[in-house]
């Protein structure tokens, strides 16, 4: 087991290195550096600036500097927000994004599985049809549409929740719901189809023959066996939430990492771009490993396969 974890973590390193290199390459392919958009600087000052940020060195040298800094955990200074360190910027905004993300995971998993179970418990009933129709709607709505709609109704008309910023628990509601909607719909559909498949299996018939009530059959026996596709989805779910957070943070002006990423890309703020990208990549790698571990714990058959 420990060997498996270590092996998976080992795989994560090349992935992260690839992400770092790919980001570096993409940024340096684009013509125009971070300081080209400013009013044109006198040549001596320009030379100083270039020297300070190693921009006058050949690209390979810059790459070595970059990797070296990374290994020391230093993400460098921001090119645009002069005087600020990328490490600090990320440290300030990461908790916010993390909070938003975790709430979204909670909402989407709990409500998604719940909806799927209700739909599968009474197939082809009105609950099933309504639920699945809403789920189809959920995966068809871009987050900015949902966010807009929620703001229009709950902020502007009903004055229930604030429309922007992040200053108390009320502020978390609308962004988290917006972010959670698509995954929740997806999970609901997944749970329903998986549960329906499991409910046909022979062992369920045995459980029913033993005299267990329908609720126990559903929740205790069937659900555990049908949860595996949902768990598999949790890995890509993290990625979805990460990318979804860009838009949601933009819409609700949440002070998280997402909006830094977008502005950094347009500003060509290389260190900030790399820093944010790497943080996201680390998150996804770790999440995927955790998901695999949960998978193995859930399905004992996987243990045999993976120890070989």
């Amino acid at each position: 087991m420990i060997g498996y974890i270590l092996r998976r973590l080992g795989w994560g390193i090349p992935v992260l290195w690839l992400v770092a290199t790919a980001t570096f390459v993409l940024m340096h392919i684009v013509p125009g550096g971070p300081f080209d958009q400013e009013k044109s600087l006198p040549p001596e000052i320009r030379a100083n600036v270039d020297a300070k940020y190693h921009l006058d060195r050949p690209v390979l040298t810059q790459y070595y500097f970059y990797l070296g800094d990374l290994l020391r955990g230093d993400l460098g200074p921001s090119y645009k927000y002069l005087g600020r360190n990328v490490n600090d910027m990320i440290r300030e905004t990461f908790p916010v994004s993390m909070q938003l993300g975790l709430w979204a995971v909670l909402i989407s998993v709990v409500l998604g599985i719940g909806a799927g179970v209700v739909a599968a418990a009474r197939p082809l009933s009105w609950m099933d049809h309504t639920g699945m129709f809403l789920a189809t709607a959920g995966i068809s709505l871009p987050s900015f549409v949902i966010g807009t709609f929620l703001i229009l109704i709950f902020s502007y008309r009903l004055h229930l929740f604030p429309a922007a910023l992040w200053e108390g628990w009320r502020y978390t509601v609308l962004p988290a719901v917006t972010l959670a909607l698509l995954p929740m719909a997806y999970i609901a559909r997944l749970t329903r189809s998986s549960l329906l498949e499991v409910l046909h299996k022979d062992f369920i018939r045995t459980v029913r023959a033993k005299g267990f009530g329908e609720r126990q059959v559903l929740l205790k026996h069937a659900l555990k066996n049908s949860i595996t596709p949902v768990v598999s989805f949790l890995g890509p779910l993290t990625a979805t939430l990460v990318t979804g957070s860009f838009v949601v943070e933009f819409i609700f002006s949440v002070p998280g990492m997402g909006r830094y990423f977008i502005t950094a890309v347009t500003n060509r703020d290389y260190p900030l771009i790399m820093g944010v990208t790497l943080v996201y990549a680390v998150l996804i790698v770790v999440a995927n490993i955790l998901v695999d571990l949960v998978y193995i714990w859930l399905d004992p058959r996987m243990r045999i396969k993976n120890d070989s």
Partner: protein, 275 residues
């Protein structure tokens, strides 16, 4: 006639999509105004007789922009999905058929691309290539082919175990012939379903990109960029964002419903069972 009765979903959603496609193709003739014609005397009007869906802050007719936006969004969505499916199918089929080490390596590459957040890659690529249709098209295709590759590979892995493949080998058929004439035709069902689901994914990605401001540049219209333009004035002029959002939503629902219905009809494994 019975087909219509037993597959209402396909007819309704397919019909809606055809209408949108028709609108997209005939936009230059159907639209009452050119999409970039500004009329500073009638800015920010609500829906009315002159402008069926109102005007935006530059006085451009929203209905016309919506039609042109259909053109843009559908074109990007469909072509991106087609390209992703084409490349992904070839990649996945070859990988699954070859098996062994080559398959392993090819799938590692897929895993690597798959494990990166797609919007992140799309944003990076779009900035590299520049805004506009080509950038978005390339970025979206480069990111979405991996899902297709995985699905097709799974199918091919199952299909190549059938005895007719063994028979074809015995008769001396070369690999590429087996792959092209025997295995791929049997993936057609899954392929069509995958394509039908890739299109709304692409439309969604394009509209999200345009919404954050990294997609289609003004004055060109896409539903996402129209939503962006309407978003800041949402409180006072909701029509600016409501109409593009509504059309976007309906189109995507149509594609998803169509995909579900096609999957029920075509994919042998997926069966909507009731208790």
């Amino acid at each position: 006639m019975r087909f219509i009765q037993s597959h209402p979903n396909i007819i309704i959603s397919g019909g809606f999509i055809l209408i949108v496609c028709f609108a997209a193709l005939t936009a230059p003739w159907l639209a009452p105004y050119p999409f970039d014609q500004q009329d500073t005397h009638s800015i920010l009007q609500g829906p009315g007789a002159q402008h069926w869906m109102g005007t935006d802050r530059l006085g451009r007719d929203l209905f016309s922009r919506l039609l042109y936006g259909a053109r843009m969004s559908m074109a990007v969505g469909i072509f991106t999905a087609l390209f992703a499916v084409l490349f992904g199918t070839i990649y996945g089929a070859v990988s699954g058929y070859m098996g062994g080490r080559a398959d392993n390596i090819l799938m590692r590459i897929v895993d690597l691309v798959y494990s990166l957040p797609d919007l992140l890659l799309i944003i990076l690529i779009t900035v590299t290539i520049g805004r506009g249709v080509l950038g978005i098209f390339l970025a979206l295709s480069l990111v979405s082919w991996v899902t297709v590759a995985r699905i097709i590979r799974g199918e091919v892995l199952k299909l190549r175990e059938f005895s007719y493949v063994e028979a074809a080998r015995a008769v001396g058929a070369p690999h590429h012939r087996i792959l092209f004439f025997h295995i791929l035709p049997n993936t057609l069902g899954v392929l069509i379903v995958t394509l039908t689901f890739r299109i709304p994914a692409a439309i969604l990605a394009e509209s999200t990109l345009s919404f954050i401001g990294l997609g289609i540049a003004p004055p060109f219209a896409s539903w996402g960029s129209m939503a962006n333009e309407g978003w800041s004035a949402m409180k006072f002029y909701p029509h600016l964002i409501l109409f593009p959002s509504l059309v976007l939503f309906l189109t995507m629902v149509a594609f998803n419903v169509l995909g579900d219905a096609l999957r029920d009809a075509l994919d042998p494994e997926h069966r909507q069972r009731s208790a």
